[in-house]
C-alpha cells in the first residue's frame, strides 16, 4: 500500500491505496464519489474525465498514486450547493444528454475548454469535445449547451466586474 494525499473538490483526503488502484476507482469506491463514470477503461471514451490541477485527464488510465499531491475536480464539485453550474444548467435546458452516461466527462472537459477559451466558436467546441464519446445525442445539443454556458458565464463575469 502507498500513502497518498489529494484534494478533491476542495476537500483534502489522505489514504492508503494499492499502487494499481486506478484514480477512477479511488474516487468512486474509496471516496464514494460515483459521479465520475467508468466506460471503456482504456482511455478512449472520456466519461471518466476529471480535472487534475485544472487539466482534464482520463481517470481510468491514471493511477491514484500518480495523483498524490494534486488537486482533483470531479462533477460533484461543479454545482454551488443547490445551484447548478451554468454548464449543468445548459446541458439540462438544451437537452445535452439522453442516457447521461457521458455527461460527467463531458461537463468536466467542457469546464476545461471554457476556462481556457471563454468564447469558443462552434467548430472549436466540436473539436475540443471530440475527446469524449456520446452515443445518444449526436453532439448537436451538447455543442449548443457548451456555447450557451459560455455565453452565460461571460455575462456573469461582466456583471461581477
Amino acid at each position: 500500500m502507498t500513502a497518498i494525499s489529494v484534494t478533491v473538490n476542495g476537500r483534502p483526503h489522505t489514504a492508503q491505496v494499492e499502487p494499481r488502484r486506478l484514480l477512477v476507482d479511488f474516487l468512486r469506491e474509496d471516496l464514494g464519489l460515483v459521479g465520475t463514470h467508468i466506460g471503456c477503461e482504456h482511455g478512449v471514451c472520456g466519461t471518466c474525465t476529471v480535472l487534475l490541477d485544472g487539466r482534464s485527464i482520463r481517470s481510468c488510465i491514471t493511477l491514484a498514486v500518480q495523483a498524490d499531491g494534486a488537486e482533483i475536480s470531479t462533477v460533484e464539485g461543479l454545482a454551488d450547493g443547490a445551484e447548478l453550474h451554468p454548464l449543468q444548467d445548459e446541458f439540462s435546458e438544451k437537452q445535452g444528454l439522453q442516457c447521461g452516461y457521458c455527461t460527467p466527462g463531458m461537463l468536466m472537459r467542457a469546464s476545461e475548454i471554457l476556462a481556457g477559451n471563454p468564447d469558443p466558436s462552434p467548430a472549436e467546441v466540436r473539436e475540443a469535445i471530440a475527446s469524449n464519446l456520446c452515443r445518444c445525442t449526436g453532439y448537436q445539443f451538447i455543442v449548443e449547451a457548451v456555447l450557451g454556458a459560455a455565453e452565460r458565464m461571460r455575462a456573469e463575469k461582466e456583471t461581477a466586474s
Partner: protein, 308 residues
Amino acid sequence: MAAGTRGGQHRECALGRSPLKPPPFDYAAPTTLDEAIGLLAEHAGAEARVLAGGQSLIPMMNFRLAKPGYLVDLRRVAGLAGIRREGDTLVIGAMTRMAEVERSPEVAVAAPLVTEAIGLVAHVPVRNSGTVGGSLAHADPAAELPAVVLALDAKLVAAGPGGTRTIPAGEFFTGPYGTALAPEEILTEVRLPVWPGGHAFTEFSRIHANFAVVAVAALVDADGDRIRRASVALAGVGPTPVRAHSAERALLGTSGDAETIRRAAQLAAADLSPAGDLHASAETRLTLAQVYLRRGLELAVSRARNER
C-alpha cells in the same frame, strides 16, 4: 506482492469484477535519477518498468498486455521536465507533458514540426498527462513523435548505471515497441536540431486523433529555388519509423516542383514493405504513403519558400 500474486486476478474476474484493471505491482516514486536507475536495476527480475505519463502503459496494463512487477514513477524526479533552447538545439525533457510542448511558443519557433505533430497525438486529456519521453520510449510504430525525431535527426539522451549516453534517433528504434534503451536505462531528454526551412506533418487516420495508419514528417530547406536539404520520415509503414532516403535524394538540387515531388514519393514508396493489418492492407498503406508523402512534401516545400 509482485509476480507471486498475479494468479489471484483470474479469481477476481470470475467473481464479476471488471477485468480491465492493472495486475498488482510494486511501486516507487523516487526523487532522484540515480535512485530511479538503481530501482530499475534492483527490480530487473520483476520486469521493472518506467512510468512516465502512463497513457500507453496503463491501458496496456488494464488489458494485461503489460504486466510489470515493479513501476518506477518518474513524476517526482527533479530536472526531467522542461523545454530550453541551447543555440541551434531545442532540448525537451523526457517528462515534459505533450500539452505543454504543444502550447510552447519556443517549440513553435524552433521545431514547428513537433508542434504540428503533437496536435495529432490522441486528444487533449491524453496529451495533458502523456509525455514526450514516454511516447518515444514506448516506440509505437504508428506514433507521431518517433517519426518526428527521426526526421529531425534528434539525439536521445539516456541515463543508466554507467552514466549517460547519447543515442541518434536513427539507432533508437529497434522494432515495434522496441528501443535501444537497456532495461535499467532511462530516457532523460531529446535534443532536436533547429531546422531552418519548411516543415510538414501529415497523416491519415480513420478517426481524428486515432493512431495514424500512415504518417509523414517532412522537412525541406531551400537555397533560393534549389532544395539543399530534405529529410523525410514515415510512421505506420514498418516495425519502426523509417527514413525515406530515396525521396530525400530525389529532391536535392531541384526546385521541388510537383513532378519531382510525385517521383520522390514514388521512389520512397518503392523502398517500403509495410505489413497489412486490420486497419489497412499493405497495398492501402503503400498508396497512402505515396499520397501523404506528396502532400507533406508539397506543404514543406511551399513553407520553405515562404520562409524567405
